[in-house]
Every structure is written in C-alpha cells, then in structure tokens.
Symmetry: C2
Subunit: 223 residues, 2 copies
Amino acid sequence: MIDDSPRQSALNAPEGVPKAVVNRLSLYLRELQQLTRAGLETTSSTRLGELLGLTGAQIRKDLAYFGQFGYPGIGYRCHELIDQIRNILGTSHTWPVALVGVGNLGRALLRYKGFSLRGFEVVAVFDVDHNVVGSEVEGIPVFHVDELADVMRQRQIRLAIVAVPAAAAQKAADRLVEAGVEGILNFAPVTLSLPANVTTVGVDLAIELEQLSFAVVNRNENA
Amino acid sequence: MIDDSPRQSALNAPEGVPKAVVNRLSLYLRELQQLTRAGLETTSSTRLGELLGLTGAQIRKDLAYFGQFGYPGIGYRCHELIDQIRNILGTSHTWPVALVGVGNLGRALLRYKGFSLRGFEVVAVFDVDHNVVGSEVEGIPVFHVDELADVMRQRQIRLAIVAVPAAAAQKAADRLVEAGVEGILNFAPVTLSLPANVTTVGVDLAIELEQLSFAVVNRNENA
C-alpha cells in the first residue's frame, strides 16, 4: 500500500497523478481479473465500484488521468481494460525479479503463486548461507550475494525483494544498488538509505498492525 | 502502509488526523526503538528527520496532532516518546492476535520476531486442516475455525491476521466477524466485504510490486 511517508513507500508518481490513484489502479486490475475468471466480458464503473466500496465516479476520475476507457452503452471490456491498466502499471511484460534472503519469509514469498499472474517472476535468489547457495528453492536457483551484479545483468533484473533480517537489510540494499537495481520491495523493518534513483516500497508487518490498532482504539473512543 | 484506497486500508483515522501522519508515527516509533537499542537516551526532530528522510518540522507538525512532546534544549527523551507514541497507537499493552491460516505465509508470520517487540502476540492459530488442528506451530496452539468465537472470547482477541488462500478469505473474514473481531490484517489478494465496524488493512504483495513497477517505468520515461 502506498502512503505519504518517506520510507514505507518512496514512490514518485508521475507529475499530477496522486499515489492513491496508482494504488487504486492495482485494485481495479485485481478486481477485473477476478471478473474475467468468473466469465464476465464487460463491466461498468458502477459495478466495479460496488465491488470495491467506491463510487463509479471515483473510478472514472482515476482512469481519466491516463486516457479514455470504456464504451457508451457497454461499459468496460474487461480484457481490454486489464491490458490497458497493465500497460499503465508497466506490467504488460513480466518483470524478472531477484529475491535476497531465503529464510522463512523468503521461502513463503517463493511459494506465493500470486506474483506471476500479475507480471512478476522471481528468477534468482541470493543469500550468504553456503548451505543454500548453489541449490534451488522452489525451483529457483540460489546464488551467493557476491554474484548479484553478474546475475542481475545476465537476467536483466531491475526489481528486487529484500527479505533478510533487519541487521542485514542495508548491506543487501547497498549491494543491490551497486548491481544497478532500480526498485526494491523491502520487508525488513528498517529504513533503507538509498540513492534518489532507486525506488523503494516497504512492507513492515508490525506497522500494518499498529495502524490497525490505532484505528480500532480510536473508533471505540469515538463511538 | 496506508493509502486512500478503500480496501487496501480502510482505516478511519480520528477526525483531523491524516492517515499518513499515523503511518509516520509508526516510523518514528521504529526509529526511536533502534536509537534506544543503540544506547541513545535523547534525540531531536532534526536527527529523527535525517534518519527518515524527513524535515524536523514535519515530525514536529505530526506530533503536534497529539499534544506537546520534547523539552527545550534537550529534544525528545527516547523512552518517553516511545511510550507516548505507543499510547497513541494503542500498543502500550500487548494485543493478543489470532492468525487464520497456517500455510507457508502463516508459518512465516509466526516465525517473525518483529511483532512482539511492537506490542502484538499471536496467541491462537486457526485452520481447517485436520492435520494441523490440535497441534502447535511455533509453540502456538492450532484450533479449528469452528472454535473461533470461543477462543477469541476466552483470550480476549480483537485483532486477526488472515493468511488463507484468496478463495477462502471472505469465508474466514465472515467467521471472524461473527466471532466479534474488530480489525483484520488481510494478506489474501481479494477485496473483503466487511461491516463498517470492522477495520481492515490489506497487504497484497503483487500490488506492492505493481506500485514499484509503475514508479520505475515512469521515472525512466520522465528522466
């Protein structure tokens, strides 16, 4: 999820497009894919809005940032809008992704089937543990982090997932930066220091729970 | 992370406090905890800002939503500000948390040590798989989902983590709602339909990668 904090999500949306809009595009895409799996060929902003708890006007306004979509009297052709949103998000082609850290979380991420459907494929895993380096995990080869630059260049990897312990995260990020990474999804609960030309999105699970806690506590107080 | 989309994070911050501010509070807390672990007793908004890529003024403005903090000539006493922020976030006392779904992701979450430090403890796990129900995973007892209401009442559980496959997520959420849950952290890549009095924060890992993709693609186009 995207917010205005510097580290949890240091996205720079193109001029004029709020980050919340880009985040909702992902939700529209997810919902459209579910509709097509259910066999629907067309939908409307009203229907999509109902599924997402939004108004149709909000959806039309969000999409209007990127052009004109849909047809009078028909609505949106699901497959077409899926292609268009993937094109906007940059996921029309599959991104090869590096995973750094093959501990519990790393393994869980490798087993997660949801990435490929949405245009991401982990093609290389990196670790420093000689017990796993040289092996395969979930069918993906595990390299030593010393090989980052070579493997990333060979496999044209631009995005990486960091799933190492907090104490190792900055070093992993530094190595990724040296190897030319352009975007990092960081699961370590630390603030990474990165050059301005590297984008980072952070997922700190404790922070998610804290936000939930705050909402629950304050809802009860206000009730 | 928190955004304005309806499902990824349906938080309702108290009147007048932007969600981004609450999210940054979590970042301040995380950074302050790191400072105290490093042995520091006091810090300043300027120093905190440097660590987080923010201005000191931003930090002072954020904190001002909740009262007055810090001392002239001293700055913030780290332990005191930690206590104050935890109080604001509602994490002064540890929340007992339920985890629904003990697949790969659920197990990774159970092994994650970062929750307890920040005031969350998974005290009960729920699943439908009779191979795990009745056993313990990472020392936490696994119950059948039919026991949700009883166990949640006994253990005073108000927050839950949903880590089941997409197709099972709404049903899991429905059961949690019946059992009186107040907040759900949802890892399933689906839009949950929940009553207004239940708060949800969603973490869809593919969406995080999509946001990264968008930023990388557009940065390059704009460069």
